[in-house]
Protein backbone atom coordinates (compact mmCIF):
# COMPACT_ATOMS: atom_id res chain seq x y z
CA UNK A 1 0.00 0.00 0.00
CA UNK A 2 1.28 3.43 -0.98
CA UNK A 3 0.55 6.01 1.68
CA UNK A 4 0.22 9.69 0.85
CA UNK A 5 0.19 12.03 3.84
CA UNK A 6 -1.05 15.59 3.53
CA UNK A 7 0.54 18.04 5.96
CA UNK A 8 0.80 21.77 6.39
CA UNK A 9 2.64 22.78 9.53
CA UNK A 10 0.37 25.79 9.88
CA UNK A 11 -3.30 25.08 10.44
CA UNK A 12 -6.03 26.28 8.14
CA UNK A 13 -4.05 26.19 4.91
CA UNK A 14 -6.61 23.86 3.34
CA UNK A 15 -5.12 20.47 4.17
CA UNK A 16 -8.46 18.78 4.75
CA UNK A 17 -10.11 20.44 1.76
CA UNK A 18 -7.33 19.11 -0.46
CA UNK A 19 -7.34 15.68 1.20
CA UNK A 20 -11.10 15.48 0.57
CA UNK A 21 -10.62 16.38 -3.08
CA UNK A 22 -7.77 13.88 -3.50
CA UNK A 23 -9.90 11.08 -2.06
CA UNK A 24 -12.60 11.80 -4.64
CA UNK A 25 -10.14 12.18 -7.52
CA UNK A 26 -8.21 9.03 -6.70
CA UNK A 27 -11.40 7.16 -5.93
CA UNK A 28 -9.37 6.10 -2.90
CA UNK A 29 -10.49 2.98 -1.13
CA UNK A 30 -8.63 3.76 2.07
CA UNK A 31 -8.21 7.03 3.90
CA UNK A 32 -7.66 8.31 7.39
CA UNK A 33 -7.89 11.50 9.39
CA UNK A 34 -4.88 11.80 11.67
CA UNK A 35 -5.80 15.23 12.94
CA UNK A 36 -7.15 13.62 16.10
CA UNK A 37 -7.17 16.92 17.99
CA UNK A 38 -9.59 18.50 15.54
CA UNK A 39 -10.80 15.91 13.03
CA UNK A 40 -12.69 17.38 10.07
CA UNK A 41 -12.36 14.98 7.17
CA UNK A 42 -15.65 13.25 8.02
CA UNK A 43 -17.41 16.54 7.24
CA UNK A 44 -16.48 16.40 3.56
CA UNK A 45 -16.68 12.65 3.04
CA UNK A 46 -20.08 11.04 3.21
CA UNK A 47 -20.16 7.65 4.83
CA UNK A 48 -23.13 5.45 4.24
CA UNK A 49 -22.33 2.93 6.94
CA UNK A 50 -22.32 3.27 10.70
CA UNK A 51 -18.92 3.60 12.35
CA UNK A 52 -17.43 0.82 14.37
CA UNK A 53 -16.40 2.60 17.54
CA UNK A 54 -13.82 1.61 20.05
CA UNK A 55 -12.42 3.30 23.10
CA UNK A 56 -8.85 4.45 23.11
CA UNK A 57 -6.91 4.21 26.32
CA UNK A 58 -3.98 6.50 26.75
CA UNK A 59 -1.39 6.53 29.46
CA UNK A 60 -2.51 5.14 32.78
CA UNK A 61 -3.22 7.80 35.38
CA UNK A 62 -2.57 7.72 39.09
CA UNK A 63 -5.41 7.29 41.54
CA UNK A 64 -5.17 7.77 45.30
CA UNK A 65 -7.21 5.62 47.65
CA UNK A 66 -8.28 8.02 50.37
CA UNK A 67 -8.86 5.27 52.89
CA UNK A 68 -5.24 4.17 52.65
CA UNK A 69 -3.62 7.60 52.24
CA UNK A 70 -1.61 8.66 55.30
CA UNK A 71 -1.10 12.22 54.00
CA UNK A 72 2.68 12.02 54.18
CA UNK A 73 2.91 14.37 51.17
CA UNK A 74 5.62 12.27 49.51
CA UNK A 75 3.67 11.88 46.26
CA UNK A 76 3.04 15.58 45.92
CA UNK A 77 6.64 16.50 46.67
CA UNK A 78 8.04 14.08 44.12
CA UNK A 79 5.61 14.64 41.28
CA UNK A 80 7.37 16.52 38.49
CA UNK A 81 4.10 17.33 36.76
CA UNK A 82 2.42 19.11 39.69
CA UNK A 83 -0.38 16.61 39.26
CA UNK A 84 -1.07 15.98 42.92
CA UNK A 85 -3.09 18.45 44.92
CA UNK A 86 -3.64 18.44 48.66
CA UNK A 87 -7.10 19.90 49.04
CA UNK A 88 -6.53 18.82 51.94
CA UNK A 89 -7.40 15.34 50.74
CA UNK A 90 -4.83 14.11 48.26
CA UNK A 91 -6.11 14.07 44.70
CA UNK A 92 -4.67 13.55 41.23
CA UNK A 93 -5.19 16.17 38.53
CA UNK A 94 -5.89 13.81 35.63
CA UNK A 95 -5.04 16.45 33.05
CA UNK A 96 -1.58 16.97 34.48
CA UNK A 97 -0.75 13.35 35.31
CA UNK A 98 1.54 11.60 32.81
CA UNK A 99 1.33 8.20 34.46
CA UNK A 100 5.03 7.96 35.28
CA UNK A 101 4.34 5.97 38.45
CA UNK A 102 6.69 7.86 40.79
CA UNK A 103 3.85 8.51 43.26
CA UNK A 104 2.85 4.86 43.27
CA UNK A 105 6.42 3.71 43.89
CA UNK A 106 7.09 6.24 46.62
CA UNK A 107 3.85 5.88 48.59
CA UNK A 108 4.62 4.14 51.90
CA UNK A 109 0.97 3.16 52.39
CA UNK A 110 0.28 1.55 49.03
CA UNK A 111 -2.49 4.07 48.45
CA UNK A 112 -1.67 4.91 44.84
CA UNK A 113 -2.50 2.82 41.82
CA UNK A 114 -2.24 3.41 38.08
CA UNK A 115 -5.50 3.04 36.19
CA UNK A 116 -5.93 3.11 32.42
CA UNK A 117 -7.79 6.23 31.36
CA UNK A 118 -10.07 6.59 28.35
CA UNK A 119 -8.43 9.26 26.24
CA UNK A 120 -10.46 9.18 23.07
CA UNK A 121 -12.48 7.25 20.60
CA UNK A 122 -11.58 5.46 17.37
CA UNK A 123 -14.04 5.19 14.52
CA UNK A 124 -13.80 2.92 11.52
CA UNK A 125 -16.21 3.09 8.60
CA UNK A 126 -16.15 0.10 6.30
CA UNK A 127 -18.28 -0.21 3.20
CA UNK A 128 -16.75 -0.20 -0.26
CA UNK A 129 -14.16 2.15 1.19
CA UNK A 130 -12.33 2.19 4.50
CA UNK A 131 -12.25 5.39 6.50
CA UNK A 132 -10.42 5.53 9.78
CA UNK A 133 -10.71 8.45 12.14
CA UNK A 134 -10.63 9.27 15.83
CA UNK A 135 -11.29 12.01 18.26
CA UNK A 136 -9.16 12.75 21.25
CA UNK A 137 -10.92 13.54 24.48
CA UNK A 138 -10.46 17.12 25.50
CA UNK A 139 -7.23 17.80 27.24
CA UNK A 140 -5.74 14.37 26.67
CA UNK A 141 -2.12 14.39 25.81
CA UNK A 142 -1.41 11.12 24.15
CA UNK A 143 -2.38 12.04 20.64
CA UNK A 144 0.61 10.45 18.90
CA UNK A 145 -0.33 6.98 20.00
CA UNK A 146 -3.91 7.54 18.85
CA UNK A 147 -2.61 8.62 15.45
CA UNK A 148 -0.71 5.34 15.25
CA UNK A 149 -3.92 3.48 16.10
CA UNK A 150 -5.86 5.35 13.41
CA UNK A 151 -3.33 4.33 10.78
CA UNK A 152 -3.16 0.78 12.08
CA UNK A 153 -6.91 0.23 11.95
CA UNK A 154 -7.03 1.65 8.43
CA UNK A 155 -4.24 -0.63 7.26
CA UNK A 156 -5.67 -3.78 8.75
CA UNK A 157 -9.13 -3.09 7.31
CA UNK A 158 -7.83 -2.26 3.85
CA UNK A 159 -4.92 -4.62 3.40
CA UNK A 160 -5.08 -5.06 -0.36
CA UNK A 161 -5.62 -1.43 -1.26
CA UNK A 162 -2.95 0.19 -3.35
CA UNK A 163 -3.36 3.81 -2.25
CA UNK A 164 -4.20 5.36 1.10
CA UNK A 165 -4.66 9.09 1.62
CA UNK A 166 -4.00 10.44 5.09
CA UNK A 167 -4.97 13.86 6.39
CA UNK A 168 -2.34 14.91 8.91
CA UNK A 169 -2.44 17.25 11.86
CA UNK A 170 -0.99 20.74 12.21
CA UNK A 171 2.24 21.51 14.03
CA UNK A 172 5.51 19.61 14.20
CA UNK A 173 5.05 17.74 17.49
CA UNK A 174 4.23 14.22 18.48
CA UNK A 175 1.04 13.56 16.44
CA UNK A 176 2.77 14.77 13.29
CA UNK A 177 5.78 12.57 13.95
CA UNK A 178 3.46 9.61 14.51
CA UNK A 179 1.56 10.31 11.29
CA UNK A 180 4.82 10.53 9.32
CA UNK A 181 6.04 7.06 10.20
CA UNK A 182 5.85 4.64 7.32
CA UNK A 183 4.36 6.96 4.69
CA UNK A 184 5.71 6.96 1.14
CA UNK A 185 5.08 10.57 0.34
CA UNK A 186 4.19 13.84 2.01
CA UNK A 187 2.36 16.62 0.20
CA UNK A 188 2.78 19.90 2.01
CA UNK A 189 0.01 22.44 1.59
CA UNK A 190 1.65 25.82 2.02
CA UNK A 191 0.01 29.20 2.31
CA UNK A 192 1.62 32.32 0.79
CA UNK A 193 2.01 34.21 4.04
CA UNK A 194 5.12 34.96 6.05
CA UNK A 195 3.70 32.74 8.82
CA UNK A 196 2.91 30.01 6.33
CA UNK A 197 6.44 30.04 4.92
CA UNK A 198 8.00 29.87 8.37
CA UNK A 199 5.78 26.93 9.32
CA UNK A 200 6.42 25.20 6.01
CA UNK A 201 10.16 25.30 6.56
CA UNK A 202 9.74 23.77 10.01
CA UNK A 203 7.48 20.97 8.79
CA UNK A 204 9.86 20.12 5.94
CA UNK A 205 12.70 19.84 8.45
CA UNK A 206 10.60 17.49 10.57
CA UNK A 207 9.42 15.39 7.62
CA UNK A 208 12.88 15.00 6.10
CA UNK A 209 13.99 12.91 9.05
CA UNK A 210 11.63 10.18 7.88
CA UNK A 211 12.90 10.30 4.29
CA UNK A 212 9.59 10.16 2.44
CA UNK A 213 9.16 11.84 -0.94
CA UNK A 214 8.19 15.44 -0.26
CA UNK A 215 6.29 17.76 -2.60
CA UNK A 216 4.81 21.21 -2.01
CA UNK A 217 1.69 22.90 -3.33
CA UNK A 218 0.39 26.38 -2.56
CA UNK A 219 -3.19 27.05 -1.61
CA UNK A 220 -4.81 30.48 -1.98
CA UNK A 221 -1.72 31.41 -4.02
CA UNK A 222 -3.31 34.57 -5.39
CA UNK A 223 -3.76 36.13 -1.95
CA UNK A 224 -0.08 37.02 -2.09
CA UNK A 225 1.79 36.48 -5.35
CA UNK A 226 5.07 37.71 -3.95
CA UNK A 227 5.08 35.13 -1.19
CA UNK A 228 3.94 32.47 -3.65
CA UNK A 229 7.07 33.17 -5.67
CA UNK A 230 9.17 32.97 -2.51
CA UNK A 231 7.81 29.50 -1.78
CA UNK A 232 8.44 28.38 -5.33
CA UNK A 233 12.02 29.54 -5.28
CA UNK A 234 12.48 27.92 -1.87
CA UNK A 235 11.35 24.64 -3.43
CA UNK A 236 13.72 25.08 -6.33
CA UNK A 237 16.63 25.82 -4.06
CA UNK A 238 15.94 22.77 -1.91
CA UNK A 239 15.10 20.59 -4.91
CA UNK A 240 11.61 19.89 -3.67
CA UNK A 241 9.14 19.00 -6.41
CA UNK A 242 6.45 21.64 -6.79
CA UNK A 243 2.94 20.27 -7.32
CA UNK A 244 1.11 23.44 -8.25
CA UNK A 245 -0.91 26.50 -7.25
CA UNK A 246 -4.53 26.62 -6.12
CA UNK A 247 -6.38 29.97 -6.12
CA UNK A 248 -8.52 31.41 -3.33
CA UNK A 249 -12.08 30.60 -4.29
CA UNK A 250 -15.23 31.59 -2.34
CA UNK A 251 -17.03 28.79 -4.20
CA UNK A 252 -14.79 26.36 -2.34
CA UNK A 253 -16.13 27.63 0.97
CA UNK A 254 -19.69 27.17 -0.30
CA UNK A 255 -18.96 23.61 -1.42
CA UNK A 256 -17.55 22.73 1.99
CA UNK A 257 -20.51 24.30 3.78
CA UNK A 258 -22.81 22.10 1.73
CA UNK A 259 -20.86 19.02 2.74
CA UNK A 260 -19.27 18.64 -0.68
CA UNK A 261 -15.72 18.38 -1.88
CA UNK A 262 -14.37 21.16 -4.09
CA UNK A 263 -14.11 18.76 -7.04
CA UNK A 264 -17.83 17.99 -6.79
CA UNK A 265 -18.65 21.41 -8.24
CA UNK A 266 -17.11 23.20 -11.19
CA UNK A 267 -14.88 25.88 -9.70
CA UNK A 268 -11.43 27.35 -10.20
CA UNK A 269 -10.00 25.82 -7.03
CA UNK A 270 -11.37 22.42 -7.99
CA UNK A 271 -9.76 22.55 -11.42
CA UNK A 272 -6.43 23.57 -9.92
CA UNK A 273 -6.58 20.75 -7.39
CA UNK A 274 -7.01 18.25 -10.23
CA UNK A 275 -3.74 19.43 -11.67
CA UNK A 276 -2.00 19.22 -8.29
CA UNK A 277 -3.42 15.73 -7.88
CA UNK A 278 -2.06 14.53 -11.24
CA UNK A 279 1.40 15.88 -10.46
CA UNK A 280 1.36 14.33 -6.99
CA UNK A 281 0.39 10.91 -8.33
CA UNK A 282 3.20 11.08 -10.85
CA UNK A 283 5.72 11.76 -8.11
CA UNK A 284 4.28 9.08 -5.85
CA UNK A 285 4.43 6.38 -8.51
CA UNK A 286 7.84 7.18 -10.02
Amino acid sequence: MKQLLILSGKGGTGKTTIAGAFIKLANAKAYADCDVDAPNLHLVINQSSEARQSDYYGLAKAEINRDLCVQCDMCRQNCRFEAIKATPEYKVDLYACEGCGVCKAICPAGAVSLKPARAGELMLYVDDTVFSTAELKMGSGTSGMLVTEVKKQMKSAAENTDLAIIDGSPGIGCPVIASLSGVDMVLIVAEPSISGISDMERIIKTAEKFQPKIAVCINKYDTNIENTKKIESFCQKHELPFAGRIPYDPDAVRAINNGMSIVDIDCAAGRAVKDVFDKTMKILYI
Binding site: G58, L59, E98, G99, G141, T142, G144, M145, V147, T148, C174, P175, I177, A178, S181, G182, K209, F210, Q211
Partner: protein, 122 residues
Protein backbone atom coordinates in the same frame (compact mmCIF):
# COMPACT_ATOMS: atom_id res chain seq x y z
CA UNK B 1 23.00 -19.20 16.97
CA UNK B 2 19.56 -18.09 18.05
CA UNK B 3 17.64 -15.56 15.96
CA UNK B 4 14.58 -13.39 16.65
CA UNK B 5 11.73 -12.55 14.25
CA UNK B 6 8.66 -10.40 15.02
CA UNK B 7 5.64 -12.55 14.14
CA UNK B 8 1.87 -12.10 13.97
CA UNK B 9 0.87 -15.37 15.64
CA UNK B 10 2.41 -18.07 17.78
CA UNK B 11 3.10 -20.36 14.86
CA UNK B 12 5.97 -20.79 12.45
CA UNK B 13 3.31 -20.94 9.72
CA UNK B 14 2.13 -17.41 10.54
CA UNK B 15 3.71 -14.30 9.07
CA UNK B 16 6.46 -11.81 9.83
CA UNK B 17 5.00 -8.78 11.60
CA UNK B 18 5.61 -5.45 9.86
CA UNK B 19 6.27 -3.67 13.13
CA UNK B 20 9.23 -4.60 15.28
CA UNK B 21 8.41 -2.70 18.46
CA UNK B 22 4.70 -3.44 18.47
CA UNK B 23 4.69 -6.99 17.18
CA UNK B 24 2.47 -9.23 19.34
CA UNK B 25 5.07 -12.04 19.52
CA UNK B 26 8.69 -12.81 18.87
CA UNK B 27 9.85 -16.10 17.47
CA UNK B 28 13.15 -17.10 19.01
CA UNK B 29 14.54 -19.73 16.66
CA UNK B 30 17.62 -21.83 17.24
CA UNK B 31 19.41 -22.32 13.90
CA UNK B 32 21.25 -25.43 15.15
CA UNK B 33 18.60 -27.32 17.11
CA UNK B 34 15.77 -25.90 14.95
CA UNK B 35 13.74 -25.32 18.09
CA UNK B 36 11.29 -22.45 18.25
CA UNK B 37 10.00 -20.53 21.24
CA UNK B 38 7.36 -17.79 21.06
CA UNK B 39 7.63 -14.84 23.42
CA UNK B 40 4.88 -12.36 24.19
CA UNK B 41 6.07 -8.88 23.37
CA UNK B 42 5.30 -6.91 26.51
CA UNK B 43 6.32 -3.71 24.71
CA UNK B 44 3.40 -3.92 22.28
CA UNK B 45 1.06 -2.09 24.63
CA UNK B 46 3.56 0.59 25.65
CA UNK B 47 2.61 4.18 25.09
CA UNK B 48 6.08 5.07 23.97
CA UNK B 49 9.51 3.59 23.52
CA UNK B 50 8.09 0.23 22.41
CA UNK B 51 11.08 -0.39 20.15
CA UNK B 52 13.51 0.10 23.01
CA UNK B 53 11.70 -2.30 25.29
CA UNK B 54 11.22 -4.89 22.55
CA UNK B 55 14.92 -4.66 21.70
CA UNK B 56 15.80 -5.18 25.35
CA UNK B 57 13.65 -8.32 25.37
CA UNK B 58 15.30 -9.92 22.38
CA UNK B 59 18.80 -8.98 23.55
CA UNK B 60 18.03 -10.56 26.93
CA UNK B 61 17.23 -13.77 25.08
CA UNK B 62 20.78 -13.93 23.77
CA UNK B 63 20.01 -13.90 20.08
CA UNK B 64 22.75 -13.37 17.51
CA UNK B 65 20.56 -11.87 14.83
CA UNK B 66 17.25 -10.12 14.33
CA UNK B 67 15.23 -10.59 11.12
CA UNK B 68 12.76 -7.77 10.60
CA UNK B 69 11.20 -5.77 7.77
CA UNK B 70 11.94 -2.50 9.55
CA UNK B 71 13.46 -1.15 12.67
CA UNK B 72 13.43 2.23 14.37
CA UNK B 73 16.44 4.28 15.30
CA UNK B 74 16.19 3.70 19.03
CA UNK B 75 15.62 -0.03 18.77
CA UNK B 76 18.54 -0.27 16.35
CA UNK B 77 20.76 1.57 18.82
CA UNK B 78 19.95 -0.99 21.53
CA UNK B 79 20.41 -3.95 19.22
CA UNK B 80 23.67 -2.71 17.76
CA UNK B 81 25.04 -1.98 21.22
CA UNK B 82 24.51 -5.66 21.95
CA UNK B 83 26.35 -6.63 18.74
CA UNK B 84 23.27 -8.32 17.36
CA UNK B 85 23.03 -8.19 13.56
CA UNK B 86 19.85 -6.85 11.94
CA UNK B 87 18.80 -8.47 8.66
CA UNK B 88 16.03 -7.26 6.39
CA UNK B 89 13.32 -9.82 5.72
CA UNK B 90 12.58 -10.62 2.08
CA UNK B 91 8.87 -11.41 2.38
CA UNK B 92 6.36 -12.20 5.12
CA UNK B 93 7.03 -15.95 5.25
CA UNK B 94 8.91 -16.95 8.39
CA UNK B 95 10.31 -20.13 6.84
CA UNK B 96 11.49 -18.39 3.65
CA UNK B 97 13.44 -15.92 5.72
CA UNK B 98 15.06 -18.56 7.93
CA UNK B 99 16.09 -20.47 4.80
CA UNK B 100 17.41 -17.33 3.17
CA UNK B 101 19.51 -16.59 6.24
CA UNK B 102 20.87 -20.14 6.16
CA UNK B 103 21.86 -19.69 2.54
CA UNK B 104 23.48 -16.34 3.29
CA UNK B 105 20.95 -14.56 1.12
CA UNK B 106 19.68 -11.98 3.63
CA UNK B 107 21.08 -8.47 3.50
CA UNK B 108 21.72 -6.34 6.52
CA UNK B 109 18.99 -3.77 7.17
CA UNK B 110 20.51 -0.42 6.36
CA UNK B 111 17.55 1.93 6.18
CA UNK B 112 16.95 2.57 9.83
CA UNK B 113 13.95 4.86 9.96
CA UNK B 114 13.74 7.77 12.33
CA UNK B 115 11.39 6.03 14.68
CA UNK B 116 7.99 6.87 16.02
CA UNK B 117 9.57 8.74 18.87
CA UNK B 118 7.69 9.59 21.88
CA UNK B 119 4.35 9.27 20.21
CA UNK B 120 3.05 8.40 23.62
CA UNK B 121 4.30 11.70 24.89
CA UNK B 122 2.42 14.91 25.34
Amino acid sequence: MKIAIPVDEKSIESSVCISFGRTPYFLIYDMESKKSIFLDNSAAASQGGAGIKAAQTIVDNNVGALLTPRCGENAAAVIKAANVKIYKTINDSIIDNINALNEGKLALLDDIHAGFHNHGGK
